[in-house]
Symmetry: C2
Subunit: 203 residues, 2 copies
């Protein structure tokens, strides 16, 4: 079965609808999805960009983006509430997701984080909010949070983020097919799935 | 018949596929399109942004964008050749398009400019290239170029660009429906056409 990597950043607005859409679209397309949580902050920093969201650099673009995300969520039947502050600190959630993915609960956790953040306007940098989400998934929140704050997972997230950079990723969500094609944006999820299914000699 | 405004900037890469796609998609959707050439430079300037293309601020994003535009053009069967320098000076083409639209040749001219620029890598700031395009449309190139360099058309382009700003436009291509909804990007052309056709009480 062809595969797509789904590169997600928990602070990213458009990663929310992508996370909510990808499972059913990939099932329909018969494409396997590998969820790859990473951190955009270090990538922006290395590019000499403000660590803030790109949407905060341009007020007109920011106004459009919030309206557009809300319009998009309405169309998909997803709740939407703008988190304040934006962007939310996303490293803790990314580290927890890295623990959860090989254990089989990472995707549910990621979706729950996006729902809390952009559906409920919750503070995802708050360990208590993370604990609540983990407990809601019947997981040992205390043990997971302790591990998420340890050096091993921090190093893993740094490594994953360096890999994102090597793949040419500069924003989220991004999708990468097995032949290395990069697609940026929730808008491009369908295109990435279609690309993943192309016959191997079509390139 | 419902209508959509198509806000285009001649320096904008993604305005090229949008210009090539919009006529047939709008015909199919039974939506009228009003072409609105404008200038992004003054909008970037007012926002305190570099006058350069946003794609030049981030090398990784720029690399992606050129690959993506070429991939998009290949998919649409459109020729693609990166113009050098990028962005190309676009004010002369915008002024000529403003002359041509009320005279009925503006859309053909705009498409010819995009084909020359992004299909042929031509210099669209060069009056000789504009003259060639105008002559190819059986128009009086010398008379049109003289008018395009006059104060009246320059003031008109400034006015149009101020209107774009009031509509919240910050990039190109953009689409605006009759109820003021803004959609940004070639990706969103279909969504804008669908929005234009919504029943008036659906909002």
């Amino acid at each position: 079965m062809p595969a797509v990597e789904f590169w997600l950043e928990f602070a990213s607005t458009y990663s929310y609808p992508a996370a909510m859409r990808i499972a059913s679209l990939a099932r329909e397309a018969e494409v396997t999805v590998r969820w790859r949580p990473f951190a955009l902050g270090p990538i922006f920093k290395q590019q000499g960009l403000p660590l803030d969201s790109p949407f905060n650099w341009q007020p007109a673009k920011a106004r459009y983006m919030w309206h557009d995300v809300e319009r998009l969520c309405t169309g998909l039947g997803l709740p939407f509430r703008k988190p304040d502050p934006f962007p939310q600190p996303s490293l803790l959630a990314a580290r927890i997701a890295l623990i959860g993915l090989p254990q089989g609960w990472g995707e549910d956790f990621a979706c729950a984080v996006y729902r809390a953040e952009f559906g409920g306007g919750r503070q995802i940098g708050d360990a208590a909010v993370m604990a609540e989400i983990l407990s809601g998934l019947d997981l040992d929140a205390a043990a997971i949070l302790a591990r998420a704050q340890g050096d091993e997972i921090k190093a893993e997230l740094r490594g994953v983020t360096e890999q994102a950079q090597r793949l040419g990723i500069f924003g989220a969500p991004s999708f990468v097919t097995e032949d290395g094609e990069l697609f940026w944006g929730n808008d491009r999820l369908e295109q990435a799935l279609a690309w993943a299914k192309r016959p191997k000699d079509a390139a």
